[in-house]
Symmetry: C2
Subunit: 429 residues, 2 copies
């Protein structure tokens, strides 16, 4: 074993960073044996240097992140500060000074992964980011490496623990969205400002990363169709139950049937209770991958939290250090298919639509005509009436999302349709 | 991209080998893009050269496997013939002649992995074997690489599809073992001689491989406690249901509580219906991994079959080819912890015991005394009587397996115990 240590600079020492530092110290012997050389924490860049950080010598703490990543003796930079800047500049600076980078930064990778990959490649260094998607669950490495000899056609997953916790609460307790969000906040599952989670920005970033890797093409955050889950109601869950379904916020990346394009989207959807994703409870994450030869695989585990995310960071750290010792690099960006990303309108899916309608003869015929005019075939209709009001629940067969949303727009214009109570896509069948 | 192709020799062209060859041909462009050089099938060693193999040029077929792996122009040897010899000699010969090896041979790796690893290391080549455990499910790579910065404490899995199919049939249809086995055979899930599956030799080999990698120590097939599932009865399933459990054939690899030893075992066990492994149906495989930082992860997918296994082989092929181009090697054998493997007697588990007893006063007291004398604490007892006969169902708290089996031996000697109807371990709680 090499005795000279590999030097690691840590950017950020919050929930994840402090766990990374702790494990590097407490498991130093194991890490050294697995890498083939000791690893040494050479510096920790933080914003608040005065804060006491147990187990981290004060002399390692610095507020000068730029200076830290510019040191020529640093072998690996671990970036767990998140956000676009200064993270991007710090990472590219690290590459320029000869370090490899392990990052957990989903937002930056989804926004501008290409810049990071290009800098890594230019300087012959590694960019690893298992922790950016689904916390501790090995997903990036299986997609980039285990399935490198296969053709992935679909990735379907629950990649945000906060929203899964909220939806699970709504499902099991009958709570409304606000009530379930309050509970998630009280238990620390939701942040004070939950926007990134509940409006699905977080899940959309992960979908972009997964789609890019799965289909070997470039997918940016802007390419991902995004719908949050703040408008899911207890009534939607009641409808889902009648269908034998539950509701999950899903990230779905698909190759088009003709193989010539891909799509990536994040939205709430009904999935059958028999689908393995339906039983993913609380803040857990799980991702289904469908590949041509492998068939259907599922990866399940804690999708967030300090220790699980640190586990993913440290797995990458070991890999990057091994590569460094071997003077090699792991897989870089793979975008050779150059498959374009289609818009949401081209996605083929099913709709579950609840309509409030006038309770008089001919309404169903009128509604059915609108579906037919848009080329949307109806799977089932359920009609209920009470107190002069009636409701229609229509579940469609698979059709392009544009045709389905066109149908809904036309339905809204019918005099006999008093309102569209809810629209939900149906997936996982 | 390098234009000179990497040359691959394929040993075996059965269910898996023919799929490997097919995908190498049909997806040649994708593989080349992902590797950075084309790969070329340079020879296929088979036993029956006259058999027509669609898509494989006849001039590539040879019966001289030894000659094929001795060619100095071969970059990678893919071994899918199985068994100990000639596979072992062919693999070590391949290393001697400069090739790296991708193998799906669980029996050989469990029996004598050390010899293969040593040969790979001596010649600076790669030994990859994702396909040896749980078919297409990425498991070896996540354990070797993704969790390389974590501490795995437990691996608990369903790693044999044939027996899971049989047990699932028994559970859902109430069928007996023979009937379920017949159905598995008719559907092609069980081989004409099902011994390797039903007596758990196959699962034991996989447990040895998983334990060695998870705990960074050497675990051989002989170190694995093994019990087949041919004696599981419909009555056992009925008992399991009363417990809120089902029965699965589990491979369990554990680090002892004091961290100083490990155990590996394969046997049928009751697991609670709420455990994710309980809902693994048909011939699917699933493996739970518990790690200190990552928490509980699960990997699920098809555990066997030509295409899924080929997917795993080709993922390894891509990795090994990339390493070859980079003049590097992936992770080798990691046995630095040198943790000893304890015997089954030291495993801490729970027993579910059904006893046929005399229906007279004092029997329960007598039985309870035997448990107490062996230091085994009873969790629940259920007593039922009919027609002068009575039965006792005892579920214990956790205790060393030696104490539990000592208890059972002592119970058999009691005059009032007419027979031990069944003994089953309870896991996954």
């Amino acid at each position: 074993m090499r005795t000279r240590p590999l030097k690691v600079a840590l950017l950020g020492c919050g929930v994840v960073g402090s766990e990374v530092a702790r494990i590097m110290t407490t498991h130093a012997g194991d890490l050294a044996a697995r890498i083939g050389a000791p690893v040494e924490l050479a510096g920790v860049a933080v914003r608040r240097p005065a804060k006491v950080r147990e187990g981290i010598p004060q002399e390692l703490i610095t507020t000068d992140a730029k200076g830290l990543v510019s040191r020529d003796d640093i072998d690996v930079v671990v970036e767990v500060i998140g956000g676009i800047e200064p993270a991007r500049t710090l990472i590219t600076t690290a590459f320029e000074h000869g370090a490899s980078v392990v990052s957990a930064n989903k937002a930056l990778l989804a926004e501008d992964g290409a810049t990071l990959y290009a800098a890594a490649e230019k300087h012959g260094r590694d960019l690893y980011f298992e922790a950016a998607v689904a916390g501790a669950i090995p997903l990036i490495r299986p997609l980039r490496e285990s399935l490198a000899g296969d053709k992935v056609n679909r990735v379907l997953g629950i990649v945000n623990g906060t929203t899964n916790f909220i939806l699970d609460k709504m499902d099991t307790s009958g709570a409304g969205y606000s009530e379930a969000l309050d509970e998630a906040t009280a238990l620390g599952y939701a942040e004070a400002d939950p926007t990134a989670d509940v409006e699905a920005f977080d899940a959309a970033a992960k979908a972009a990363i997964l789609a890019g890797i799965a289909f070997h093409t470039r997918v940016r955050l802007d390419d991902v169709y995004r719908e949050g889950m703040t408008e899911v109601t207890a009534a939607d869950f009641a409808s889902a139950k009648q269908m034998g379904c539950t509701i999950k916020l899903l990230a779905i990346c698909e190759r088009a049937a003709d193989g010539r394009s891909v799509t990536a989207r994040v939205h709430p959807a009904m999935i059958p209770l028999s689908h393995p994703l339906a039983s993913v409870r609380e803040a857990y994450n799980a991702v289904f991958v469908e590949a041509e030869a492998a068939g259907r695989l599922m990866f399940y585990g804690p999708g967030a939290g300090g220790a699980p995310t640190a586990s993913a960071v440290l797995g990458d750290l070991v890999a990057v250090c091994r590569n460094k010792l071997a003077e090699a690099t792991g897989p870089g960006e793979s975008v050779y298919t150059q498959l374009p990303v289609s818009s949401m309108g081209e996605v083929v899916t099913r709709y579950h639509i609840s309509l409030d309608v006038a309770d008089k003869p001919g309404v169903l015929a009128q509604v059915a005509t609108v579906f037919a005019e848009h080329g949307v075939s109806i799977d089932t209709v359920r009609q209920t009436g009470k107190d002069g009001e009636a409701s229609l629940v229509v579940v469609t067969h698979r059709a392009p999302d544009a045709a389905l949303s066109g149908t809904v727009a036309a339905l809204r214009k019918l005099d006999t349709v008093r309102g569209v109570a809810s629209i939900m896509r149906v997936e996982g069948e």
